[in-house]
Structure formats: C-alpha cells, structure tokens
Symmetry: D2
Subunit: 361 residues, 4 copies
C-alpha cells in the first residue's frame, strides 16, 4: 500500500537472484562474525567487505579461520555500498550517518551495529557529546530488538539501528516484568559481565592476555554508554520513565554476556507466577528460552548462537527478584541479531542462517 | 586480669620454642593454602596435618607443588590436636564442635574455617538445619574479621570462628558505609563472583574444566548460606537489622572474589567524600587498600595474598553507590585471615607470614 | 555390481524420506557434538538417542544448550538401533562389537567412534588386552579417514571405524611426507596437545577446573593407546613399518588438538618444495588447508569445525622438518569426521552438514 | 687472593647496612617480578626502579598489585645505577653493554636478564645481527645457571648474564643426560610451551585475550633466538658440539614453561636407571626436584616459585627418552634465578628470598 520498495528508490530484489550482502568494518570482531553468518546463510550471497585498516589484504590474512573459505580481498566502503542490496556497518560511533546517506543514494538498506541511530537526540548528545548531522535520516531509521519491535520494520525501512549487546540482554530479561508493571520504579539494577570480544579487536593493556586472564573487575561503573539505550527500552515497556544503575564487568572468557537483573517487586506480586509470565510473554519466540524453575542461565549454553536464556530467581526475604539473562555478545548481541533484522526486512524466514544450536560444550 | 592462659588449661607457649601449628583437613584447598602459609611463616613451626581421605599418604602425593618441600605423611585429627598448640580446621560444617571439645581437653586452641561457630544459634538452625550440640563451647568462641573485631580476641580465647570468604569481602567493603549510617535500610544488594577454588577440591560437573571454562552463571541466587553471616556483620555495624540480597556467581578463574556491593544512599550523602570516609576508616589497616578515585578494584591485584582492595563508584543519577571489593578467597578470605587471627591470638606481629605482596601479573 | 544395499540386508533408504540417524552414548561430549551436527544437517533426520547414565532424562537436562532445541528423552541402545538407518556409537572400548552385531541384525549401519574396529587384532590385543569376539564382523568394517581412504567405503559397508582424534591429526599432517618417502625411517616424533574435551565428560582430579586451569603437562608419554593406530596409518602410507614416539599433553582449552610432527628428512630433500608437495596432495580436499609459507597452524582457527590446518616449518640446521597440524578433537577428530563418513556411506555430498566455517574468534 | 672487591673498584658492602638493589626496566613483567621478590627478600633493600615508558609515575600506577606496598616513583637508569650496589637490568637486547659500562664506572654490579652477555660473539652476531661494542666487558661477565655454573661467580664478578627462560628449562632437563654421554649426538629435540608472560607486557594481536585464549600454536619454529644459548650449554655439558631442534609454543596460561625434551639413547642405555642418575646429579640442589617414576612434571606445580620439576619418560619401543621439565618463566626462568645469582655473588644464602613453596593450586 504505497510501501512498494521500488518506488522508494530502493534496489529491487530480483527474486531470481540472492540478496547481496556487504559488510563495512568486516575486520572488527562483529564484522567477522557477520561474515561467518552470512557465508552460512542459505538465502543470501556474501558481497564485498571493507576495512579501513586492512584494505587490499585478504580477509583470511586477518582471520586465518577463513583461510580457503573466504579469501576475499578487503575493499572500501564505497564499493560495499555500491555492490550490496543490504549493508551491515560495524564501526565506531559518529560514522554511520554518512554511510546511511550514501546507502540511501545508492538504493541499499543499512543495518547499523553502532550507536548512531539507537538513541533519541538528547540522549545521544548527553552521552556521546555529538549532534545529529542528518536528522531526516533518523526519521527513516528504526531501532529493533525483533522480539519486541519487529512490527517497526516495514518494507521501506531504510536503516535499522541494531541494538547494543548489553542492551539486548538487559531488555529481553526485563521486558516481561516491565510490561506487566510489577517492578518498583527506581529499583532496577543491572550487574552485567561480558566476554572480552565485547571490548573489540583493538589492543589495550586491559585485554592483554596476562593482564586479562585470571582477572575480573567492573569497568565504567554507572557511566557506560549503553545506559540510556537500556533506559529508553525499559521506559517504553513500562510506560513511564525508568532509570537504572548499570555496572558492566570484564569477564575472562571470549564470548557471552551474563546480566544479573535485579528489581524490587511491587507489593502483592506472586513470585511463583513469574516463570509462567515470562513463558507466556515469549511463547512464540524461538530465540528466547525461559528456563524452568530451579535452572540457571549460563552464558556457555548460548555462546556461538543467536539464543538467549532467562532464569528467574525470586528473593522473597527482601522482596526482590533476580533475573539471570545470557546471550552471546557477538551473536544475539550483535551479528546474529543483525541478520535476524535483515531477515525481517527482506521477508526471509526470521531464523534463516541463525538457528543453529549452540555447541553443547 | 585472670586472662592468664596457663590457668585456663591452655598449653603454655614456652618462648624458647616456636608455636606448633596443625591442620585438620589439610588436603582441602584452604588446608593446602594454610600449609603453604605456615611453611613460610617465620615464627611458627608446621606440626602434623590430617586428612580423612588421604591418611597415610604424603601431602606431596596429593599436592605435587609440595614435593621435596613438605612430604609429611598425613595423619588423623587426634594426632593433630595432641601435637599442636593451635589447630586449624577446614572441614564441612557439623564437625567443628567435636574438634573444639577435644582441643579444649588437650589444651590446644582452635581456629575454625568452617561455619559452625560463625552464626547465632537461630541463624545456624534456619540455614543449616542443625542445633548447637555444645552451647557452652560457643561462649568461648569469637568471630573475628581482624580489621573490625580484633579486640574480641583475648589471651584465653579458645576458639576463633574464621569468617567466610564472601562474607569477609562484603563486610570489609560495606563496613565504613554501614558504620556511618549512610545506606538506605533495605537497599543493600551484593552481586559477588568467586574463583573456582571457592567451590573446593571435590569433583562436580559444574567445576569440570570443559563445563566451567568459558562459562559464567550465578548459583544459589538469594539462598546462599553466607547470607545470614553477612547480615549479622552488617547489622552489628549499622546498629539495626539489615537484610541483603546476595547472589554469588562462579567465575572461571582459580582464585579471587569480586563483590559489587550496591547501596542506596540516604538523601544528602555527599558522594565525593566517600573515598575519604573509607580511607579514614581503614587508615591503620595494612591489609585493606582503598583505591583513589578513578581506579577500579580487580581481583587479579590481590590474588595469592592477604590484601583487600576497595574502589568506590557513585551513581548520582540513581542515588546509589557501587563499592567494588576484591580479595583472594583462599588468602584474606580463608587461610590468610586464619593466620592473621592466629597471630593476634598469640601476640605475634599481625602481618607475620602473610604480608608478601601479590604477584604483579 | 552385487553391491546392492537391499540385497545385503540393509534397510533401504527410501528416497522420499530422510536418513534416520541415532546416537548411542549421546551424553558423552562426542555424542553431544554429533547431536548438534545432525540437528543442523539438511539431509538427515535426528532419530533416537541413548545414554546408560541418563536414560529417561531429556538430553537438554544434561546439556542445557539444547534446551528448547532438542528436548528428546534419552532411551536405550536397542531402541536406537531399531529406529535408525545409521547408528553412531560413542562408547568406551569393548562394547562396539555387540552393538555392531545388533545393527547388522536390524539392518542398520554402524559408525563407531571408539577403538574396537580400528586396529589389527594383534595391536588391539597388545594395547587393549582384549581379543576380537566376533572376527567376522571386522571383515565387514572399514577404517576411514576420508581424505586418505574414502574408496574403502562401499554401498554395503556395514561398519565404519571412525579414527581417533590424535590419529587423524598426526596422519593428515604426515601423510604427504610418508607417501613421498621423504622421512628418515625411525625419525618420527609426535608431540601433541589436546583440549580438555578430549578427556571426556567423566570427572577426574586432572580435569577439575582449579587443577587443570593454568596447568600444562604431558600424560601417558610414549604409552598412549593411539600410538598403534598412528603407526598403522603411517606404515600403510610409507609402505614399510613405521614406529613413532607419541607424547600427548593436556592443554587448558576446551576444544582442539595441535600436533607438532617432527621428521628427519632424507638427504637431498628440498625443504622449499614441501609446501607445494602438501598442496598438491590435498588439492581436492576441502577440509584440509595447507597454509602458505610463513604462517602457522593454530588450533583456534579450526575449533568448532571440520577443518584441518597444516603448516610446514623446516629446520635445515638439523635436517628435520616440523609440521604443525591442528583440528578440532570433537569436529574433524570425532563427530565431524563421523558425519563425513556417513555422507560418504550414503552417497550424500561429502561436506553436507559439516562445512560451516569456524568462528573467526 | 686478589679478589678483594674493594680493590676492583666495586662499592664495598658495608655490612651494617643491607645490600641496595635497583631495577632497570622495572615495568616489564620480569622487572615487576624482581620487585616482588626483592621486596620480600630478608637481606636486601629495594632501591630505585627505572622505566623509560613510565618515568615519573608510581610503580603502583602501572601495577596496582603494589598499591600501598611499593608506590615508589619510577626514575631513570642513571639514578638506579648511582644508588644501587647491584643493578638488575631487564631490557630488550642491545642495551646492556652501555648499562654494564656505567655500572662498572659507578662501582655497581650488573645482573643482566637480557641476551647481550649470554652468547659467544659469533653466535650473538649470527642470531642477533649485532657485534659486541665492548668486548672487554664480556671478559668480566659470567653466564650462570647456578646449579651448573655457580663456581663461575667470583667476588669480583662484574656482570652476570642471567640465562633465558627456555634455556634454563631445557638445560636443567638435559644436563644429567648430556653430562653422562647417554644421548645420541644430533638426536635432541625440544618441544617447549610457554605461558604468555613470556611474551612480555607489550601489546600484540597474538597476545590479545580473545585471540590468545582458547588458542595454541607454535611460533618461531626452529628459528627462536634461544637456540644458540641452549646449544652452547649442552655442548659444554656433552664436551662436543650439540645442535638441537627447538620449537616453542605459546600456551594460554599466565606463567610457566613446560619443555618436552626428546633424546635418542645410545645403545645399551638402561632406561630404568635414569631417574637415579638424575637424582644423583641434583642431590644437593634444593630448587631442582626429580620426580619419582610414574609422576609427571606439570608447570602448575612450580608456578610463582623458583623450583624446577623434572620427570623421566622412557620410550623403549623407539630407543628414546622424553624428559618433562617445568619451571616458572618469570621465577626460575628469570627473576628468581637472577636473585639466586645475586645471592651467590654477595655471599648470601643461595635460597634467600626465593625459597617460598609454590601455591598448591
């Protein structure tokens, strides 16, 4: 009904050929995970990949795991945009508006794994110190955790802001509680732990093996930039402004986030019903598994996958509940969810290419 | 003033010979750490060691690190008690009363690393399902985190209840705040993470390397037995009953605990003064280091030592503070603190044998 | 030509339905990896799974990674055999002959991941202390590393002996050299390191996290039972008897084997040609990647996959070469290769279900 | 006999004050371990510390483990030399001659942890591409693994070349065999694995946590610069030129080296006597422990210590022996051995400050 993609200046998807997917920032960890997923996706074709640092090198020189499987030479962002139906960008903040503009001009869609399209302008300004350069572009962008917002994606959606890893974890874990209005306002506290891939491929002393191995500490306690994105999501769910204390920690494992989500429960809340409430909320969601009472979500059980596990732990002595939520920061927390959003955008089966079970061990 | 040890039926410490120290349960992890510390202690002599599982074997068959350094043959608890001036017991709960009785009969002091002498009877009953068998013994026992309770140890103290690892961490981290009355009652929340030695030497699937490595999860969320001991300490400090939500997690490192301690601050609390408050509180304590603003406590920096680091992280947006506290679960959290208590009991320099700096990496 | 499967008493593969695959020993690590691969295999159907220890429980109770993805209740081996076209058995040695017999009686094929069908009888007796109970069965079994022996698998093959993990690694790494006759007889030395999943799911002190983490040691030096299987393969390739020194080590990672394979080179061997020799040998093999000069095989780059990387490192000073070879002990070293063998046996594309690229990080 | 230190222009050690020790390169890992050991050494005093990168900062800003224990401000090398009786230098190669010259001028002794004084000039030239700038200095330097060369250290020794970590491990493990003339010339092969502190504090992709964790690979196979130093030691022991194949691997643990040392045994060698031979060789050496038959050296059992464990594993099938040797690359392999050499040089008890038993776990 007017949402005809062709008329919107978007490259038409000729149905006799596969969707062509490109990645800008393919040599970052999330970029490399995107490549892996797209290579294995049955309904798309991997197009060009770009990297500022490694342009002209083969991807497999940077990531030997791809040797003989994806030896593509890395190119620049312009070629990626020109040659792709859909572009994934995995870049530091501040660069995505420019890319989005070019994508629109070239008729490609953009799925942005960075922060630039996630926040309302006042939050973006407050936490990143930057203004929107192209406010009109933000009108054409949608923010989407598929389990909560998939209806936001329309055939003419130009840009999808792919949510942050901590944010996805905290939001999925708290959504049923917030939606049901059971949490005491102001009581939400998020103690999260991320595997080291979450800190990216760039070198730092903190992530130097001898300093990081056998170590554990919080970082950016109460000042991490994922805070306003979490609050934005929870406020929408609760229908009132929500503020949270959010403290991330660096965990000496490669992949996975565990968020221990604490909430004070309103008087009269029946703790025994919470598992059922969560199961009902997620009953049609293949990627979110609410564990039975007595089990505990462990990030190992979702690593290398697009799945999210949730376990519920009431503390009747203090009137709180702790909700353990785990996902793979590179999977459901980044590249997996980006593919899920791509599937939604192009009408592919939502789980295509991302439904493989996680390794058992 | 009547506190003459000899008149109390305690073995006199003939000052021409070193204090003789024995360990019951020497093949548990805490027991083995005690052996290491006592071997290196300049003012005591390592006496007999016992083990139910390995009696008759050399300690160095169980722990090859001691090969050629401590090849003592493991004996039974009776011999340990008979031959020692001070006995350390590191055993499952329910056994320490019997040992304490024998120690008193034989004139030895007991430092108990288990739970049996830590709690008031009602808490012990509620959380362990057991009664005190020998209530009189508990009159002669003192619970002691040296930085907070060292005056409880008197020359005639017969039994010292050595605090739990999580408990020491949470209590040291919260003590200045509770004592100053700055925390909102009911707001305390403890999200703690322990290295795997905290789970002991006994085998389990959870601690099997492939299941534990690259994994992370909470366990015993809000039902861990260290909860009442934490509440007992905090209530004493606050001068009013304190209840906490306590959620421990299993961390895939060998040694160390990190506790992220959250408290709501009473209106009017000046966050900027908290570091100074803590520094003042611990100014005479060599084992507790309050880090300057901007630094973060990391368990790596205290592993293999008796030190505790504390860092303060206010969240003015929500009116909370997060206090990062770290120690070595086997050091300050168990064997190191037990030696510190022994030093106090026998009038030795408090830091003797436990002041070595942690490895830098 | 008489190899008609139907006439051999084998269940016919009705081509309108998928091949039905069962796993005996599904709760061991290799069994669980088989389940993961079979769930993702596009051309087969996962049939029943058995476990002696967990019969009656859901697989996802043992491996929570399968929660909501494979909640099948574990059954017994008889049901697996009855309901499957092909049975994978992953069991301690000594049990496979009985299973093979039942499989033959029921018309199912067996792919055995254990040692029982791998060795000549004299070696089996010498290294395992057991006799063949059913010599006739061994006539119908073939041992197969697909890259070297795929022609051994015929339509009527009843049993496939799936090679050992260390053996696959050492054999693939040495095959081109042995086949070309370049190694000095008696000079082969294999220093191998395996991730801890190689030691299986059963608990032991050696694999208890605190004892295994931050540890490294050889084990079963020069007496490991994979030795005769390696020698059998290398002797066939060399066309003369080959003996090797084989020393495995336990490596504190979850998955992967690295074998540093040393050989003295015959006089006149041109070290500069070795990479080319290897590339020629494996030019048609999608799962074996010979790295260019200057790169080094790293087990991280093949973990969670069916790929094998080989790098060549000559030492002209001593006339030796070191060949670095890596694979995933659970993938190409066990379950992945078993699926590859299944694909060959049933005429499916050899890489079906096992061609996914490894994670880049 | 003329070896009077004072007459050699060396600062006299006034016996009423402690030896003053300085460290150049104190912020490298070996430098920081030296600081830890010197802080705990009962007979020396820690003097000034220098660092090019961090001059003017407190050591505890670089290594928070020292917070409150060693907050010394880092200075420059000149001050270290001026203010110390003995200087430890832990620097990249090529810098030690200049430091040695200054030390001699100022009357300080130098213990150099780098490569500059370890090799004969032709080997230094061949492997490092550099010439000796000050050949006379090398006359006043001795290379010393105390267990093998302690008599080389004389009261007037000006410079001690502290051996490399891999070299100490390989040499201690092979010394008794080489000395006894039991190894086939040309048969020695060293497959060594080092913890990541061995690669130093400088950042690199290889030692970035996500790339290094759950990874394992050889590096510098057969071209590592420790090769000539190993050969120099073994040749001296054997009394004939010895060449070895040496292949190091990067092991994802923090501390420790394991060397699997392979040698062909001369005909007639009785494998059963090897443990006895080794025990006799090291019978007076407190830091080298030859394990009984049936046990296996594990680097965990010597980590954080100055001890070395050796286990003997004959392979009668091939006429070889594998000798498992472990030590801590930062302890006996660097800083611990440097302190041991200092003790020898100044007539202190050889084990002072470095005899603490390793942690049991």
């Amino acid at each position: 009904m007017g949402n005809d993609a062709t008329t919107m200046g978007i490259k038409s998807n000729c149905h006799n050929k596969k969707l062509r997917t490109g990645v800008i920032g393919a040599t970052g960890y999330a970029g490399a995970e995107l490549v892996r997923l797209l290579l294995g996706h049955p309904l798309v074709e991997l197009g060009p990949l770009s990297s500022v640092s490694f342009e002209g090198k083969a991807l497999s020189e940077v990531y030997p795991a791809f040797y003989g499987l994806c030896d593509q030479v890395l190119t620049n962002e312009d070629e990626v945009i020109r040659e792709s139906d859909v572009v994934f960008a995995s870049l530091p903040h501040g660069l995505a508006e420019g890319i989005a503009k070019k994508c629109l001009e070239q008729g490609a869609r953009l799925i942005d794994l960075g922060a630039d399209f996630r926040l309302a302008e006042e939050d973006y300004r407050a936490w990143y110190g930057l203004e929107f350069q192209e406010p009109a572009l933000h009108q054409r962008a949608v923010y989407c955790i598929p389990e909560l917002h998939r209806e936001r994606i329309q055939p003419d959606t130009a840009v999808i802001a792919n949510p942050g890893c901590y944010v996805t974890c905290a939001t999925l874990g708290l959504a049923p509680l917030m939606k049901a209005g059971l949490a005491v306002p102001g009581s939400i506290l998020i103690d999260a732990k991320s595997g080291v891939t979450g800190a990216g491929r760039s070198l730092s002393q903190t992530t130097h093996f001898p300093d990081c191995n056998e170590a554990f500490a919080p970082y950016k306690a109460a000042v991490h930039r994922h805070t306003p994105e979490i609050e934005q999501n929870l406020s929408q769910l609760a229908g009132e402004p929500v503020r949270v204390t959010f403290v991330p920690h660096l965990l000496p494992v490669n992949r996975g986030i565990e968020a221990s989500l604490y909430a004070g429960l309103k008087a009269g809340t029946n703790c025994d019903n919470l598992v059922e409430l969560y199961r009902e909320f997620y009953k049609n969601e293949p990627f979110v598994k609410v564990l039975p009472k007595g089990r505990t979500a462990n990030l190992k059980h979702v690593a290398y996958s697009n799945y999210c596990h949730i376990s519920i732990h009431p503390d009747p002595r203090t009137g709180r509940v702790m909700i353990g939520t785990v996902l793979d920061n590179m999977g459901k927390g980044a590249a997996g969810q980006a593919v899920q959003n791509m599937n939604l955008l192009f009408g592919l089966p939502e789980g295509a290419g991302i439904s493989a079970p996680p390794p058992a061990v």
